[in-house]
Symmetry: C2
Subunit: 211 residues, 2 copies
């Protein structure tokens, strides 16, 4: 394989591997603690019954999130990013070349918790999903616009906490739509199960589209 | 003034200006939405009665946080960082050279919401304060260790939400102490006022020490 210098080329290269394997790759991004791993725990409980799933975890150090998912029997590859505040296509390419992808239906990539830099580093994913916790404030799409501008789905997470914070789902949805009319917004909660079916339905229709 | 290339030199230069003016400079860092601006709104309500305070706001785009503080009559300078996920000493130096510092007692810098890169870019501040919202999970010191390793204070924010999340203040405090024994931890809430007096007391003793 020729030397790929920039991130775009490497991302396109990863995408070739994903398409050859016939899997759907999802890049999950958010601020730290918005609920990416919790969403994966809850989603894979259902998805793993019917589909072959795998996860790539990106963290500065340690394997805390990977171990949470391994406890559920999920296959997880850990990427330690060190000082880097985001995953890049080269880090993912190393894993992609070492993993048997052909049996997979879904490959989830949990990015490093950061609402800025992951927006500029595509990894080869088919879909980009941003989680915004209702505890962070509904102004985040205005303050961190780039990541909301180029994503496919925005999940407003922890909606069981709405009674205790001054977050408006309607206002936040409007801010997202103004930036990115094609983005679909879902209000979800791991605690009450709100919106989880809508999210799982979106995943399966995204999968069917990618086939 | 000689050309200062690296961030450390520029930070030291900023510090010279801060010390010449006799002010205390605090760098506030956190994940997006942990409560930095809310803490400033609440703190400056008290501090501005007795002391001359000013704020430098760092955001990718816009002046949403600066305007929240200006509504309270606070003097605020806005730095727009564009694609950069953190403030650096050069951005701050530009403001420092354009502002009359000699009348100030406190200068707060609200950094871009990011738990990774701000850890590596000192700005010339005297004290580094990290906010960790109890809604983000108590594992954050383990997962994003660098910023917790080199700070003076950790504030556990939004403690009114503790009954609704599985965050342990004791566990999080232990994780911080393991990484950084000199850091002081406070549990605070803007809604109930919990811990705000302790935080204001810490600020005034830090100010006295810097004189
Ligand atoms: N109340 C409530 N808490 C939630 C929900 N989802 C996640 N949490 C809590 O939010 C905290 C962070 O959740 P994680 O799933 O670890 O978040 P993350 O985005 O994976 O965090 P990083 O990988 O460190 O960036 C934990 O304390 C979870 O228990 C939810 O729907 N409701
Ligand atoms: N329940 C509760 N909510 C809080 C508290 N402090 C802040 N919030 C809410 O948390 C959200 C974010 O607060 P901000 O002060 O804007 O947070 P920030 O760290 O300045 O955010 P960025 O500058 O965008 O990174 C807002 O909806 C606030 O109302 C608190 O003590 N309790
Ligand atoms: Mg996680
Ligand atoms: Mg703010
Ligand atoms: Zn960065
Ligand atoms: Zn100077």
């Amino acid at each position: 394989e020729r030397i790929l210098n920039n991130n775009e080329d490497l991302a396109a290269h990863n995408r070739e591997h994903f398409d050859a394997a016939g899997l759907l790759c999802i890049n999950l991004m958010s601020a730290p603690g918005a609920g990416k791993t919790s969403l994966l725990e809850r989603s894979l409980l259902d998805l793993s019954k019917h589909w072959q799933c795998s996860v790539i975890e990106g963290d500065m150090v340690g394997e805390l999130d990977a171990d949470r998912l391994r406890k559920l029997g999920v296959d997880v590859s850990q990427i330690s990013t060190g000082k880097s505040c985001h995953l890049d296509a080269q880090m993912v390419a190393r894993v992609v070349h070492s993993k048997a992808l052909d049996k997979l239906d879904y490959l989830f990539i949990e990015n490093v918790g950061n609402l800025v830099c992951p927006a500029d580093f595509p990894l080869g994913e088919h879909k980009r999903v941003v989680l915004l916790s209702v505890t962070e404030g509904d102004d985040k799409p205005l303050k961190y616009p780039v990541i909301f501008h180029n994503c496919d789905v925005v999940l407003f997470t922890k909606c069981d906490l709405l009674p205790y914070v001054n977050f408006s789902v309607a206002r936040a949805t409007q801010y997202v739509q103004d930036l990115n009319p094609r983005a679909q917004c879902f209000a979800v909660s791991i605690v009450t199960g709100q919106g989880i079916d809508d999210w799982l339905n979106w995943l399966s229709s995204a999968y069917l589209q990618s086939q």
